[in-house]
């Protein structure tokens, strides 16, 4: 009862301790560092807003990197979600060997950042690679997947879409919890499969679409491995995502203060977008609430 207030904190204790010790300190010190010049070897020097000034006025790389990042996020997230949803919809059927397929489709996510991926990906998408061979059989000319600055980002996007496992698993779980009688009602109402999908299934999935959207967006904004392993940000910085930029500023150029400033700008952007997502979700996410039907 009244002591519940303290009880709540008792269970929260691990998080609170962790928050104060392991999260808050580094979190805040990075904020502090963003107002300094810090080359890691000597102590940080307070420079006020100058990092941010430079960032917003003189840094062309930041501009480029930011726009690349935004393009990346806004293309990867919808594509990946759509793909994950599509596959989940297929895997939702009761078919033979379905468990095998569910696992198989999760494999790319398990492989994660394995170096084999980078190697193989290069094979698949090189000028004479398998993908171009496949495209050729469909009668299209070879595509320059990595070399053309307009394509390279898309290739990274493809890699990420290929690792759609976790989003798919969540969609799959949600699909399985949809009341079958709604489909039946729709079929009696005369809705075909496509109509049913768009008018019944999709709206019911909005909560998980939203959950996945936020999670994937956060993830996409922090994308590092893909471009790092495969394109190193190139060509012409066309895959030079902000995290890559932050990383290089911090660990290659030893501008930790500047890197922190970029990171906090990125943080602010994700924060704003997340808030926008949360706010807009009231308009398009339908929550079942705890009542039936």
């Amino acid at each position: 009862m009244r002591s519940q207030r303290f009880l709540g904190y008792a269970y929260l204790a691990p998080y609170l301790i962790g928050l104060v010790i392991f999260t808050a300190i580094p979190f805040l010190s990075s904020l502090y560092l963003s107002f300094t010049s810090y080359d890691l070897m000597s102590s940080p020097r307070w420079t006020g807003l100058s990092n941010y000034q430079k960032l917003f006025t003189r840094d062309r790389t930041f501009e480029k990197s930011l726009s690349v990042t935004l393009i990346y996020v806004f293309s990867t997230v919808p594509l990946k979600l759509a793909f994950a949803l599509f596959i989940a919809a297929i895997l939702n059927y009761k078919l033979k060997f379905i468990n095998f397929f569910r696992t198989a489709f999760y494999v790319p996510s398990i492989l994660g950042g394995s170096i084999a991926i980078a190697v193989l990906w290069r094979y698949l998408f090189s000028t004479e690679g398998l993908v171009n061979m496949a495209i050729a059989t469909l009668g299209f000319g070879p595509v320059d997947w990595f070399g053309d600055p307009t394509n390279a980002l898309f290739t990274i996007t493809l890699l990420r879409c290929w690792q759609f496992g976790s989003a798919m698993v969540i969609f799959l779980a949600a699909l399985q919890s949809i009341d079958k009688s709604l489909y039946e009602a729709a079929s009696i109402d005369g809705a075909g499969k496509v109509t049913t999908f768009f008018f019944v299934t999709l709206p019911l999935l909005t909560p998980v679409i939203f959950f996945n959207l936020v999670m994937q967006m956060v993830q996409a904004f922090q994308e590092f491995n893909g471009p790092y392993i495969i394109t190193q940000g190139g060509p012409l910085k066309s895959t030079y995502l902000l995290p890559l930029y932050i990383y290089e500023e911090a660990f290659k150029k030893f501008n930790m203060g500047y890197a922190s400033a970029i990171a906090w700008v990125l943080f602010a952007i994700i924060m704003v977008l997340t808030l926008v997502a949360f706010w807009s979700s009231k308009k398009w996410v339908y929550y079942a609430g705890d009542k039936r039907s």
Binding site: D39, M41, S126, F146, D148, T231, P235, K253
Partner: protein, 395 residues
Amino acid sequence: AELRMSWWGGESRHVATQKAIAACGAKYGHTIKGEFTGFDGYLEKLTTQMAGKTEADIVQVNWPWLPLFSKDGTGFADLRTLKGIDLSNWTEADLNSGSTNGVLQGLSVSTSGRVFFFNTTTLEKAGVAVPKTWDEFFQMTKTVKEKLGPDYYTLNAVKETAHLLMVLVITQATGKDMVDPKTNRVAWTPEELATGIGFLGKLVETGAIRSQKQEAADGNVNLFEKPAWAEGKIAGSYEWDSTYSKYADPLKEGQVLKPVPMLTMANGVTEGVFRKPSMVFSISKNSKNPEAAAQITNCLLNEPEGIDILGTSRGIPASKAAMARLANTGEPEVRAANDIVMKASGPTISPFNENPVIRGIIIDTLEEYAYEQIDEMEAAEQIIEGVNDALKKFD
């Protein structure tokens, strides 16, 4: 004393180094713990450790990193003040390249330089001789293309290699390193630089190398991983002398790869060799026992116990003692390559050539040039402006 030593490397280096520190430790009654990983991530780790002042007592540092960790000569222990290291084993040039702000921060472990390798089997097939000058080289390229087909190339140059090739030809033409040590600014004039950049363009035009764009299209695959290389369809390359076997091994049965003396320029001033310490050993300034660390370092580099065990796992050693002791051991082709590097002429190379910021600027600009976003002159100006900017921080 208890010491730690950290390094990156591959298989053979790990094995050799572990044995060597055990042997040297035994000799001086220290225990040394090896901390080693692959190259990937080593910089992050070292950086973090340096920032946290927890780096190992003996640290293997990539030469270009020296100015980063020790801008003004205070990043590591001053090796001249430590007893137990026989500095006479190094040339003055070596000691200079290991110093920042005049303070000796790292001992060159080996000297390494870029050298041309040619696949003589392919050249023979095309009926051409190994070129000695750039003119011969372009001539040869033409013949190879005609005889063997347009998918044959005579050189390989992407990113760093392209950068260093450009440095090579400009140095050959001007006799100057990029950075003027006196002013700490770019020594080349824009025109000189533009000529160098244009040279890269010419290599592409003549079909000697594949364009940056083509390379990128294939995912910037390492040369030694390219099937074309293995099949001899790329007849030459410009690589570190120590990496000979890395490139020779993948070649298909029966092909021969040979290190070749520097190609020269008709009216060149120098051979322009890009020669530098490949890596240095530094001693932590936070070490509790720097003297012991110095003893071990000396043992590894200058004393028979270390020399014998380490062998050429870090390239042909720079230490005179080691060089003498190892005389003719090691792979003959690597030795030959190293000989070429050691004998060739050229100005002292500043570590700034490999400074990550500066290299970033240059490679990015060359990329823009390769993608025809800018011409040579614009590229040259862009590089000079950017590099000078970066250099200012080190004034």
